[in-house]
Symmetry: C2
Subunit: 713 residues, 2 copies
């Protein structure tokens, strides 16, 4: 722990209000004065106890892909509705659709246990830099350095997970994270709880209100929350070390809040030129390719209800990727993020250049740029290969099957992440389920489009497997003919045949003489070569980036929040609206009346009947905000969040839970590259919206008591 | 004049702040206290001199389809950029595109005279009810009553226009208007000035910035203004009786403003059931039909650059009609306009029923509803016929040609309005110009679609001309075959042949034995029958509506603004933002920075280079609003405007010009049916935006001096 704090001291640049996904250790470094400045009245020692190495902030627990927090002494936990969809599906039957209708356990006996849903409660935070760094330094090549880190990580995690779990927990789970590209490394030690039961999920018309249409937007009217309860391995309610009682008072504009959780990944530590590659090549290419795919899927399924249904999921997902890409480009431009990063780098270089001790930093930066130049030389080739999985089933599935077989041939521990035995069930299920997404005429069009893109690659960036099969085709008609022949000479698109292929070793697969599988093996070989190349690049970055980043933070002379890496972070901010463009102001809060006004009776805008009735009858109870004159539904704050923060608690200055984070606004997507205080806004579901439903719609008085907001007699 | 004032006294119901397109006479009736309440410090006698029968308010002059106002003693006049497009086109050459680049006359000698552009300055307002009403009352049938009014109108206007024009004017022009469906009638006597010269028009990137995309929306960044100068018949600058000096101080949120001009038409005097017909039948049908046409034109021109260009104007116009229809339906629902009208009517009926003197009013209302019932019985038939002109060229042109020929056979004065000799040149030109909008494959699809709609009409509402030709077709293929045959047996779609047809009498046209023309004559006969039916309905309404409206205003007991009828009106309001939906607030002002932020380099968002340069260099001069920190571009106010108010001056409490009205927000389209104070907002170009350009971009110091805002030495 101490070492991690020392590294924290090395980090730097003045943080803007709201900016910074701080580690708990950095919060200690920033000090009680700073925390008070953020509007927090709780003593710093309560937020984080230096001796224990945990604190109130560690009441941010990790859920699959999400965050959450305990809200009662009896293991009640709040998170997003979209984080528990798997439990809702698990318990849904044709007669009772929990996703559609929601669920409220009338008593603890009625809580719905889940087979697979697990949560991880952090128990300890451990700096392991001293165990990792020497092994990296000893490596004789870039690839070796990469592999040394993989080994160190696997070893440390395996070792850590042998430790005895805390009281009531099922197992110890450990996660490994690199900070600042390798300046430091840490393990988070979790108590895993595997008995998690659904207590309350609102109906779809609350939890998913607005759906994809409202996704990434404001104003928002989604009640994206749910309650589950954690049980010990003995089946008793779990008693967490900390919990956040719910606030009945709620928030108002300007109030201080903090959002805690496990943000996944961000890119603020990239060099300006690396960001440029994202802003000027990667995201524009993503936008162009997804736009082409969307158009061709729409065209190929026009007039076919069967085709339209089949491609609808893929279309939605492509549209999402495109919306994100557009948002990244727009946000990077709007925030002048490239220019800011260039200026910041120039300052660090000017500071480091005359210092003999920093000579390595200036060189490291050059090395990182040289590495980027290498990537740029084969950029189009690599991008095309990466897009394979989003192109067509006839290209994506064979490559996946080839890869599965190749990895299966290795001992379990040596396989690529995601291809170990424990991952197989999920992959098998997905490959079976995705059959319904196949519409052959559209798939052929997508295959043709990808192959044409591959054939248009620069001469020195060709994909051999494609050239061998298609380079001699004279025109589109000829290409289409050869593609059709491939489809005809393959069983990959047949669900039954494919389900058998999942479990076969390479020899068996190859013996099938299946044309698409043969193409899959050939493409997978190129993909594997690319992976090796990338592992080498990663190994080189592990050498250079920490040197450069140490200079950046050394120059700053104070804590600089490291990029997100799925480790515990806290961000302090204020409830605040924003001006998305001249003449328009987004207010920081939305209301029940606004939610009702959006009701169309068509998905995703169908307000549940009981809620509509209560709202129209003016049954607002004590949850009416005096200033708003209505029940608040969602609020904005300028917290610094990203993917992984779904379900993160938003707490007020006294440590009470006032909301649950569930999204960012579209203008703020490029936040991953730089914080722009003008439009950096995260979206929280207001806790009072949940409490209003529990009290006025559901009559769940026991729950309200447990949440600390029992009605005064 | 006195009589008109008496009628004004009969009108009523409490007006909301901002509500009311008042006649000048009503402003007198509302009194000085009321005017002061609106924030106006000018004495009422200055706004309107009872003795003279004119006043400052009569410095709202009429332009073709627009309004405008004098802004200097030397006849300088401000209006919208979009109101002078015809002058810009007149003077554009391939080498100098005034619409694209704008124009500034360096001296008076450089001002660009226009051949056709005329303005009308009001000289007197005359109540003519006593001359009209007896002729209506003497009519023996509804149709006779309608014709009696047509005759009265024509006679009064002809008589009036014989009067000598005022000093410097070319001619006297008179317009006739019915108030409240015939409660009163008035003539406005205008001095026509036919020597109007272009002084300044900003480039397209200012005057039309945002184009169709921003049309009807907020935030808005269009500098929709232009300056022209009126000259007397002797070629000297015209000296108007009144003018509005420009305000250098501008406006801020909450400031009082008034907008003056000639709003065209509104429908607040309709019965609730008549509004229902609009909201539930007419606008939804418009939306459905235009949606079908848009889809079929897009489909039929897909992949054809030629077709795409040909239908682009029609597509834009259909999209506009659809956007309007959707806005009307949404706005009527949002403002609960039907329910409010029902409630208001019920109150009037309850008030009138026990009064023997009002017996006629209750009956009149029933008669108007009976009239509506008659219309509803043949509604689908009539709507289909009305849509002919928007359907296809092959249907629209022949009907127009048949009608032209039919009207030409009559003496000029007996023809339908729009078909007199003076209208011919424009019609001929349009028929020639529209050739470029013809794309036969798309046109055939549109013809097919209309015919299918006609064949699907209820049994008792058939269109005989269509039944005769198409009812026996078995399927679409057969219909298409017969349509193709029509196209083949016609010369109507040939531009040269058509240009000859324009001047032929019915016999000559019929002698051509042209299949489409024959269909055109048959359809025109049905259209003519519909017109006769409608004239009868109008005649009936002329009997009943005034009786009902007199009761409505009698019940109110105070001035009620009558529906717009292209006569001079004034509306008093405040600079004010609005909340279009929960969580979003529209600020009342936009800025230069906001305009620059929208610049994409692609139409309609191309900021002119010199303006971009000046803005980026921070050359804001004295036009920077301290509070906004920037040059203001546009502002919202809750004035009660409609079509015809384009170019209307917005003046402040002291009679200085602060802006030029040019649009309403989309939420406010249904304003024509009822005023909803929450979202009733008109859009004004801020005068300071014009002044900033003249001073900082154009260096037009003489003009600034003439406008009363010379820079202090």
């Amino acid at each position: 722990m101490r070492q991690l704090i020392i590294f924290a001291c090395l980090l730097g640049t003045t943080a803007l209000a709201g900016e910074g996904k701080w580690t708990p250790q950095q919060v200690l470094e920033l000090g009680p004065g700073w925390v008070k400045q953020q509007g927090f009245t709780l003593p710093l020692a309560t937020l984080w106890d230096k001796k224990k190495g945990t604190g109130l902030l560690s009441n941010a627990v990790q859920l699959p892909g999400c965050s959450g927090s305990f809200v009662s002494a009896d293991g009640l936990l709040i998170t997003n509705h979209h984080c528990v969809v798997s439990i809702l599906q698990e318990h849904s039957t044709p007669a009772a659709n929990l996703f559609e209708d929601g669920y409220l356990a009338k008593s603890r006996a009625d809580e719905k246990a889940s087979k697979a849903f697990r949560i991880q409660v952090p128990r300890a935070f451990r700096d392991v830099t001293a165990q990792v760094r020497p092994q990296l330094d000893a490596a004789k090549s870039d690839l070796e350095r990469f592999l040394a880190m993989e080994t160190a990580q696997k070893t440390l995690v395996a070792q850590c997970e042998k430790e005895a779990p805390g009281p009531g927990a099922t197992a110890t789970r450990c996660t490994f994270a690199a900070f600042d590209g390798g300046v430091s490394f840490a393990l988070t030690v979790f108590d895993e709880l595997s008995d998690v039961r659904l207590v309350w999920a609102p109906p779809r018309g609350v939890g998913e209100y607005g759906g994809e249409i409202d996704n990434w937007t404001w104003p928002r009217h989604t009640g994206d929350f749910s309650l589950v309860r954690a049980y010990t391995s003995k089946g008793e309610p779990y008693h967490p070390q900390h919990f956040f009682p719910l606030s009945a008072a709620g928030v108002k504009p300007g109030d201080a809040v903090a959002v805690l959780g496990y943000p996944g990944v961000s890119y603020r530590g990239l060099l300006a030129r690396e960001m440029e590659e994202r802003a000027q090549k990667f995201f524009p290419a993503r936008e162009a390719w997804t736009t082409e795919w969307i158009a061709l899927l729409e065209e190929a399924t026009k007039g076919s209800p069967e085709g339209t249904i089949a491609v609808s999921d893929d279309l939605r997902s492509l549209a999402n990727v495109r919306k994100n890409a557009q948002g990244q480009v727009a946000g990077i431009a709007r925030g002048k993020i490239l220019q800011k990063q260039r200026d910041a780098e120039a300052q660090v270089v000017a500071w480091a250049t005359p210092k003999p001790a920093q000579k390595g930093a200036v060189e490291a930066r050059q090395q990182l740029e040289a590495l980027l130049d290498q990537k740029l030389q084969r950029w189009e080739h690599d991008f095309a290969l990466d897009f394979l999985g989003s192109s067509s089933k006839a290209l994506g599935w064979p490559v996946l099957l080839a890869r599965l077989a190749g990895e299966r041939a290795k001992p379990d521990l040596e396989r690529e992440p995601g291809y170990q035995d424990r991952d197989l069930a999920r992959t098998r299920e997905k490959l079976a389920r995705d059959q319904k997404k196949l519409f052959v005429p559209a798939d052929k069009k997508a295959t043709l489009a990808w192959i044409k893109r591959a054939l248009a690659l620069p001469k020195d960036q060709r994909i051999a497997a494609i050239d061998a099969r298609f380079a001699t085709a004279k025109d589109d008609a000829e290409l289409s003919k050869r593609i059709t022949a491939l489809y005809e000479k393959s069983k990959v698109l047949d669900a039954d045949a494919r389900s058998k292929m999942v479990d076969e070793l390479p020899e068996a697969l190859k013996a099938r003489k299946d044309a698409l599988l043969e193409l899959g093996f050939a493409l997978d070989a190129e993909r594997k070569a690319l992976k090796d190349q990338r592992d080498g690049w990663s190994g080189a970055a592990l050498k250079h980036r920490p040197v450069w980043r140490a200079a950046v933070t050394g120059f700053a002379g104070k804590p600089v929040a490291p990029d997100a890496n799925s480790s515990l972070r806290v961000t302090f901010c204020r409830v605040k609206g924003y001006v998305p463009r001249d003449g328009v102001e987004m207010k920081p809060q939305t209301t029940l009346a606004g939610m009702i006004a959006k009701h169309t009776g068509l998905q995703p805008f169908v307000v549940p009947a009981r809620l509509l009735e209560a709202a129209r009858a003016g049954k607002l109870g004590r949850w009416k905000d005096a200033k708003l004159g209505d029940v608040p539904v969602a609020f904005l704050s300028d917290c610094d969040t990203t993917g992984g923060n779904s379900g993160s608690p938003a707490i007020d200055a006294t440590g009470k839970l006032v909301g649950v984070n569930f999204d960012r606004v579209w203008e703020n997507i490029a936040n991953d590259f730089g914080y722009n205080p003008e439009i950096a806004r995260n979206v929280n579901a207001d806790a009072r919206y949940a409490l209003w439903q529990l009290e006025e719609v559901e009559g769940a008085t026991d729950l309200l008591t447990e949440l600390g907001v029992a009605r005064k007699p």
